[in-house]
Symmetry: none
Subunit: 212 residues, 4 copies
């Protein structure tokens, strides 16, 4: 009733045509080279038709990204260590595509200029991926593998951020075993046993936790 609004209905074939065209264009010329004009032309439609559906090229790209680079959920195998590695490893795979490697950084950079876009991106892409890794961490706590008082958000950030970091700056390659090394550090740290003994604050907490 109220769902069907008056006037000419929107042609949904245009939606999919534009999304496909956007992915093509992104793969060919990247994010900086993408123009609404080119996307519209390739989709066989016009600029205003795009603008009516998306606020700008950023919003269009988010839409195309979500459709394309969907999040692989972190598995639940009963092994905390393994689950985390798998979850982070799926992130490295997302960056092997040209879109992941060259489009995502640029898109992310635009988030700072458009809060609405940031909200959309976090909701549609970021948190979907993050949620399943958070679940793995919680299972690790319940299982007694992880410090029950750990800062969940911080751990999630530290697990994922290094991959982004290397992709963004390109100073070091994203190797296949990177996920495992990152998880090892986040779980075990890099300090020696001596250092841990001499820093009761951190170790005391850990001891108190483990002792309880």
């Amino acid at each position: 009733m109220t769902n069907t609004r008056a006037g000419r209905p929107r042609d949904h074939r245009i939606d999919v045509a534009v999304r496909d065209a956007a992915v093509d264009v992104l793969n060919e010329v990247g994010y900086a080279g993408l123009t609404l004009e080119a996307v519209a032309a390739r989709a066989g439609t016009s600029k205003p038709a795009l603008r009516r559906r998306w606020r700008g090229r950023q919003h269009l790209v988010v839409d195309a990204l979500v459709t394309t680079v969907g999040a692989t959920p972190t598995p639940d195998t009963g092994c905390t260590h393994c689950d985390l590695i798998a979850g982070i490893h799926s992130l490295t795979e997302a960056f092997t595509t040209r879109i992941g490697r060259r489009v995502l950084p640029a898109l992310v950079a635009d988030l700072a200029d458009d809060p609405e876009l940031a909200e959309l991106f976090l909701r549609e892409y970021f948190h979907k991926r993050r949620a399943s890794t958070a679940a793995a961490l919680r299972r690790g706590i319940e299982r007694g593998d992880l410090d029950p008082e750990l800062d969940l958000d911080l751990a999630l950030d530290m697990l994922a951020s290094t991959i982004y970091y290397r992709v963004l700056f390109g100073h070091l390659p994203v190797t296949d075993e990177l996920a495992e090394r990152v998880v090892d550090v986040v779980l075990g740290g890099v300090a020696t046993v001596e250092w841990r003994r001499c820093h009761p604050r951190a170790e005391a907490e850990a001891g108190a936790r483990s002792g309880s």
Copy 2:
């Protein structure tokens, strides 16, 4: 000698005027809004003069960044833990400026499209900051605080990346104590003692080290 080449010498006052103008423009309209035309106009010069000095606005921005957000070196106090916190904390300070918060992400996104720019950025900005933190890590190893076989590059990445991560996605604030929390995790990890006991690979290494 080799300094004197044929042709009219470059007017170095233009260099500084443009750099200053670029910083002003960045602070006013951000990276996406920066145009060579506006910078040239504000600096009282012309586009070709800019183009002769910098390949594009990205290169100009790198130059302006280096001049503006210079790296605060990681201190050497004899305390590994403190030095690292101070070093990472200086990173959060760099992101309190508008330039750091909004310009750097966008600039970094452009690195993927221009290898030459990436090389310039890494050399002039990234590695300068990274080097002094790497030195702190090495001192920590010599001091016996850190695992002598740790992956230095990985540790450096994990120390810095979380700050970038939060700035980029804005899903969580960059609080003042974030630096300390990150260092704690990198040094100590988040796993429980039980977990460490059951994972001899990581713990055995730590034990072997401490036992020697």
Copy 3:
């Protein structure tokens, strides 16, 4: 009907603003100093808006010329001699304006490089002026004042060309009585009666005509 076409209609206020601005600029800096950029700026619009309307500055100047130095029609007083003098004299007046004196020659020089421009100029400016003088010549023939077999085009050229010639080369001034002197020569020639008698071809024709 055919007037309403798809797309945003053109803003006609821009047309007049640009034409006015062009005339101003021409009066201030002349033809060589006229730039589309300056005209656009003074008209409060942009270069592409101009370029959409005119192919280049030449076409714009033709348009501005037609609006400004409109052709004064040759009068019809019943006196062939007087009409022609008046018609040619109006030409000298057109060259008293700065636009006529300095712009027209330069514009005319550009005709050779652009046939389309030449066609436009001839249609919109040249032939409008020429037509009314041609009518005066025809009236002179009907009236029996002029040789009915004269080459109309040649006569028109000879009447007008001397004014242009003096303006172009500037070797002699364009005085007020020049129009009369030119008409006198075109009508009467400069040969002596003796010479005419010895050249039956020209004189025989004249005689045959007068004798009929």
Copy 4:
């Protein structure tokens, strides 16, 4: 003595190389498309070398023109009519070259902006051609063919201007017999005998002259 000035003497091979290069460039891209840079490059030298010799491209072009389109002097056959036709006809020939047809008009247009250039052009090109035709007219007067009180300058202008006029505007072709037709009109006029009889001023003068 004072002729040989101190310092390095000018390389005269550059003069001729540049003049040749200028003619080539003019033939290829015309006057509007000629740039000092292109001429210098083609001549194998540099812009300052050109600028030291010529004030600007206009002066260079005048120099190249004089060297290329030299004036053919009006002959002296004893026949006024024939001499004039030959003199004017040589003018039409000068306009059959691409340089004459496309370069000269543009150059002439620039005379208005540079009095010094105008003086140079008139002296080096215009008057040289004009002088020999003036001599032919004077011989015609002495011979009794031409009205001894004719305005010599006006007659010269009227003889030559029509050719320029047709070349400039291109509204009519410059045919081979145009020279003859022009001379006919200048000598004989286009009025009928009746008209001449009714206009005693012009005819009385002619009669008085012929009768004396």
